[in-house]
Amino acid sequence: MLEEMRLDENIVLMGEEVGYYQGAYKVTQGLLEEFGSDRVVDTPIAEAGFAGIGIGAAMVGLRPIIEFMTWNFSFVAFDQIVQNAAKLYQMSAGQLQVPIVFRGPNGAAKQVSSQHSHAVEAFYTHVPGLWVCAPATPRDAKGLLKAAIRDNNPVIFLEGETLYGIKGEVPEVEEDEIIPIGKAAVAREGTDATIVTWGSPYYTSLAAAERLAGAGIECEIIDMRSLRPLDMETVLQSVRKTNRCVVVHEHWPYAGPGAEIVDGIQRDAMDHLDAPILRVTGQDVPMPYATNLEENVLPTEARVEEAVKQVCYRQ
């Protein structure tokens, strides 16, 4: 954000605690000091309010970044995002453009229970007019956010809440690396089964893949990075090679991008499949608080491992 705000003075950041407090997760550290309160705006507590304010400001030519303290609180702004940000360009037949990024932490943190643990991608990927990004690595988070800020369409940017502590190399300012929206990455090469994932479960999948390698199963991991549009080509290439697939995601199993990916594979790679595609998802329940319950709602290494073995008929 810092780099982009230096490049384009039309970029403004709005949200609760983004200024003086430097972000509930310290994501916006130093921004108020550098850009001042006209561009880093502490808002009253009203998600629907500042979502609407941002949409209006975008029509004038500002490029607002709207931070939700967590995506869980975006539901009160759902009307502004779905009925307005996503549709205004289409409803006005191109007269009103809304270049805006809605971003914030997504998914379970640790023990914050049902109203703070939503993985919201199933809600927002459903909506035409929005792009949805869900990076897992620091490098992708940086490059994709730059792409989102420069895009003229409204973008939903999901930052895994447990991933803020992950460290990794990121490119220097001069490199100006942009990760294009809608491009998946082959995060680990393998020959025996494909694991398709994104966001926090990416790390669960990586760990499971290491364990499986010990058992002689080499997994290929596809990190989707973006969920709308979906890079099905990268997924299909991998599945045509491995002939087996497990989709791992945090959101509830009913519908959503996980199911959409499975649909794409069965349609375009049916003849390459040697086993039914399995999904490892969050359990179909509101998130409980107790540690043991929460850990077993989320996709675990053990469940990923079991599913991969199952599609490889190795049980």
Binding site: P44, A46, A51, G56, A57, V60, Y89, A93, P229
Partner: protein
């Protein structure tokens, strides 16, 4: 049957007296010619309303949401705005859009959702947008335009663009969260917004006294630190005057302001509504006595600036223009199928290119019964 307790009228200034003379303290200092323009704009709106309602009853258009009885609040406010100012409409303000020079043909094309429709057949009738006329998009969910207007005004202020943004909403919308956040944010940021509450006393079938326990709608603004006034929304000159003063206040003080325009919805909520199911005729009859067109016409006649011939010629001119527009709109082809995939994103992404191709070259290409 329901009946709104007509909110206290005390302290609401009126410019046009019952005999057609003027109380100059509450009237704008404008020429007779400008007054004729105001009246003709109201008359035009009313003639169009009547015609569109008939077209809907005949099944030629799907929907219309009119402004019968509310013409003074809509035209008196819109025509007091500067050309540089923006308007964020509710959904009843087609008269405001036309007063900005939006072609009647384009408006009628929108009613018919044909290939010439400015929003390409994507929206219900009366859901127009015109950036060229500084007129935002009509949004069906109640109130969403309020916070957008505040954001627009706030951003314009950051860009040092000295405009005011007017946003219309009804009495019902004052219960929405967007009213609350809109006024709150505007107060905090000092956004140059003119909040225009068109209090027509009915939110479909809910009377205003069941909408709020406040004495009136204007008093809500004070809790947000936003100045507010009430005006006689059935008196086009009092409305014009109040709005002119409010615009001066907003630019001078760099603060928002709210005006509650007290008026009455003489027709149904829309063509989908029949108010006889929930309100009594004598109430409508009583308000018909304060009909904004009757009052302004009386004033113009008092000035010697209007007579029966002017009236019938003006009506006829609108009817004729309208007939031509309707004829052209009905003859125009529907939007091309392929256009439904445009403007979902700035450029058409591959998955929509694929869907478009499947639609155009799929079953409908070989089955003559499919359009």
């Amino acid at each position: 049957m329901r009946r709104p307790s007509i909110f206290l009228r005390e302290g609401i200034p009126t410019a046009i007296r019952p005999d057609g003379t003027l109380d100059r303290t509450h009237a704008p200092d404008i020429s007779t010619e400008r007054k004729r323009e105001l009246y003709v704009a109201m008359l035009r709106t009313r003639v169009i309303d009547g015609r569109l309602e008939r077209l809907q009853r005949q099944g030629r258009i799907g929907f219309h949401i009119g402004s019968l009885g509310e013409e003074a609040s809509i035209l008196g406010s819109a025509m007091a705005m500067g050309a540089q100012d923006w308007i964020f409409p509710c959904y009843r303000e087609f008269g405001a859009l036309l007063s900005r020079g939006f072609p009647l043909q384009s408006y009628v094309d929108n009613m018919f959702a044909n290939a010439n429709d400015i929003v390409k057949g994507r929206q219900m009738p009366d859901h127009y947008t015109s950036r060229a006329h500084r007129f935002g998009s009509v949004s069906s969910p109640i109130g969403t335009q309020i916070s957008q207007a505040v954001g627009f005004a706030w951003a314009a202020k950051l860009k040092r663009d000295p405009i005011t943004v007017a946003v219309y909403f009804g009495d019902g919308a004052t219960s929405s969260h967007d009213f609350h956040t809109g006024l709150n944010f505007a107060g905090v940021y000092g956004a140059p917004v003119l909040f225009l509450c068109r209090n027509n006393q009915w939110a479909i079938s809910l009377p205003s006294n069941e909408q709020t326990a406040s004495q009136n709608f204007a008093e809500k603004a004070s809790s947000y630190g936003v100045a507010a006034k009430r005006c006689d929304g059935n008196d086009v000159l009092a409305t014009y005057h109040t709005i002119t003063e409010a615009l001066g206040y907003i630019q001078r003080e760099k603060k928002p302001m709210m005006i509650e325009m007290l008026t009455y919805r003489m027709g149904g909520h829309s063509t989908s509504d029949d108010p006889r199911a929930y309100r009594v005729d004598d109430e409508v009859d009583r308000w018909a006595k304060t009909d904004p067109l009757v009052r302004m016409r009386r004033h113009l006649e008092h000035l010697g600036g209007w007579n029966e011939t002017d009236e019938s010629e003006a009506k006829q001119a609108v009817e004729q223009e309208l007939s031509q527009c309707i004829e052209r709109a009905e003859a125009a082809p529907p939007p091309e199928l392929d256009t439904m995939f445009d403007d979902v994103y700035q450029t058409r992404p591959p998955h929509l290119q694929q869907q478009a191709s499947q639609l155009i070259h799929g079953p409908r290409a070989v089955d003559p019964h499919l359009r």
